[in-house]
């Protein structure tokens, strides 16, 4: 049933991530290898490009990948459903709607506050949809198909509203909106890195802390209750943390689909469903996948680039299709 021990897989993924970071730091529209860098003085503009454009972008890809994949693993555990993906259920859409509104109607704050403002808006949007879906899942007749349909409906409604927003937006807002709704990491800056790390790492730490309880929830609510778990409270915490993870990553990078679906599924095939390993494994796997996708996105068609969300959909869509067909 499983092929590798969790510790070895985690180590392997960590090593892979380091290799990817080095590879990614070395490649881009501007050929810039480490040996070149080392031979230059620190005041050289190339160093500036490397430090302030490439490096933050790499870190953002890693952090957002971690958030998306671990949120996917937690949502799937929470709903006891392998297809519960933040994108499919409309949670990312909820966050994106709120961010769209802040793009169109920016409040006047100092820049760093603005960044948090966007995050808070995205968090509120994702939390709202999370709660909506959670309330719906309490319904006796709720099943997988209905939940996905609910996601389809939410995505359709928000899609329409987003359409309306782009209709009334001006030229630069429109470009911002459309680029951002396709998912991209091009605007990486150190401010954004610090803000997103300050939100994503604590949330990630929180869900890993709750992994044991999440495992026991897999037995069913009633069984978990008899094991001394405060089921409602644990579920509320997990939903809240998921909303932070998803909201922050949407605020940073727009909608990057399927990372939350594909990565946990692949990790589960390797090491089983124990969330104590699955969540960190998914986080590392998500970081690898998104960093790889983003590196390809900015090198494949250099000097321009593909929005990374399009690339992940290109990989994730067929994978999703395969999952559905196989489950029959």
């Amino acid at each position: 049933m499983r092929k590798s021990s969790p510790q070895i897989l985690l180590l392997g993924l960590f090593a892979l991530l380091l290799i990817l970071i080095i590879y990614s730091a070395n490649s881009g529209a501007l050929k810039l290898s480490f040996t070149q860098l080392m031979s230059m003085s620190f005041d050289d503009p190339l160093w500036n490009i490397w430090c302030n454009i490439r490096l933050p972008r790499i870190i953002l890809a890693v952090v957002v990948g971690m958030a998306l994949a671990s949120a996917g693993a937690v949502m799937q555990g929470l709903f006891r459903n392998p297809l519960a993906d933040p994108g499919l259920l409309g949670i990312s859409s909820g966050a994106s709607l709120m961010v769209g509104i802040t793009i169109l109607f920016p409040a006047v704050f100092p820049p760093i506050m603005m960044l948090y403002g966007k995050m808070v808006a995205a968090f509120a949007g994702s939390l709202f949809i999370c709660v909506l879906i959670y309330l719906y899942s309490l319904n006796e007749q709720c099943n997988l198909a209905k939940m996905i349909l609910l996601g389809v409906a939410i995505n359709a409604i928000i899609g329409a509203v987003m359409g309306g927003l782009s209709y009334i937006s001006d030229e630069s807002q429109l470009r911002q909106l459309s680029l951002w709704s396709m998912g991209h990491l091009g605007k990486g800056s150190w401010d954004l890195v610090f803000v997103s790390i300050s939100l994503i790492f604590p949330a990630l730490f929180g869900v890993i802390k709750l992994a044991h309880q999440l495992n026991i929830l897999q037995l069913g609510d009633e069984d978990a209750h008899y094991l001394g778990i405060n089921v409602e409270r644990i579920k509320r915490y997990l939903l809240l943390l998921c909303a932070v993870l998803i909201g922050t990553s949407v605020a940073v990078s727009g909608i990057i689909a399927f990372v939350g679906l594909v990565v946990p599924h692949m990790i589960r095939l390797q090491i089983g469903a124990n969330h104590k390993w699955l969540i960190p494994g998914s986080a590392l796997g998500g970081a690898c996948l998104l960093l790889l996708a983003d590196t390809l996105a900015r090198t494949l068609v250099a000097p321009t680039e593909i929005p990374v969300g399009l690339l992940t959909s290109l990989i994730g869509g067929p994978y999703f299709l395969w999952l559905i067909l196989r489950h029959k």
Partner: protein, 257 residues
């Protein structure tokens, strides 16, 4: 160990459980029987405290169940439900290990090993739970609840089971109920079990409670409850009863064709 006083439960005007009082003592096996839809499973959920009664109260060791801290309660009371399905790939031993949740790492390996031996689960310890047959899954769930109650020193504990033998073969039916009986006697375990098989109930019960339409209609030793008139009256079946050839105090039932 457990005393229930005047439990009542229902939705709207429909009463599911109507004024039920009973007690379960340590070292005793109490078996709840009754026709389909009699309210057995609901009664079980009221006794465990999972559902709050509209009126009445359950007392565990003299203290209302609702006032027990959940963590402490989990160490002395547990429940094996009819069905437990998993969506994701967990190994059998991982499922059983979940039973140790209230204890952390204390006596972990010893307790897990012991309950796996008791329930005959060792041979599939490393298999995916979802790939087991219904009967094997029931044995794993039994192992899990026994792991939850496992403590190095015997003390008063309470185990509820909702049809624990429904998918078991004959060998494991006997094995499971013998095990429960042995644990009840040796470890002061109080067992409260819903069963459909009346002959099985007669073999192992210290007390049988017959429930119909949310009320206790008969209760007592197997010979008192399992009579031709009672069974005919509450189940509407035509049966005969004879005494077990080797144990005269155990009634056994046969259906008339």
């Amino acid at each position: 160990m457990l005393t229930a006083k005047n439990l009542t439960f229902g939705y709207g005007s429909r009463m599911i459980i109507n004024d039920v009082s009973l007690s379960i003592n340590a070292g005793e096996i109490v078996i709840i029987i009754g026709p389909n839809g009699a309210g057995k499973s609901t009664l079980l959920r009221l006794l465990t405290g999972y559902q709050k009664p509209l009126s009445g109260e359950c007392y565990l060791q003299g203290r209302p169940v609702s006032q027990w801290p959940q963590k402490q309660l989990a160490k002395i009371r547990t429940v094996m439900l009819q069905q437990s399905q998993l969506t994701f790939p967990f190994k059998v031993k991982e499922v059983i290990a979940m039973g140790r949740a209230p204890y952390g790492k204390m006596h972990f390996d010893q307790s897990i090993h012991e309950v796996m031996v008791q329930t005959d689960c060792l041979q599939f310890a490393d298999r995916d739970y979802r790939g087991l047959s219904g009967g094997e899954q029931q044995r794993v769930q039994l192992a899990r609840v026994l792991a939850q109650l496992w403590q190095p020193e015997p003390n008063e504990k309470l185990l509820f089971l909702d049809e624990p033998t429904s998918a078991l073969d004959l060998y494991h039916q006997q094995h499971t109920l013998r095990l429960l009986k042995q644990l009840a006697v040796k470890q002061q375990l109080a067992v409260c079990c819903i069963l459909h098989d009346l002959n099985l109930a007669a073999l192992y019960a210290d007390k049988i409670i017959l429930v119909n339409q949310g009320k206790i209609v008969e209760q007592g030793a197997p010979t008192e409850v399992l009579t031709v008139e009672n069974i005919h009256r509450w189940y509407g079946v035509e049966i005969g009863i004879f005494n077990h050839p080797h144990h005269t105090s155990i009634p056994q039932i046969y259906l008339n064709p």
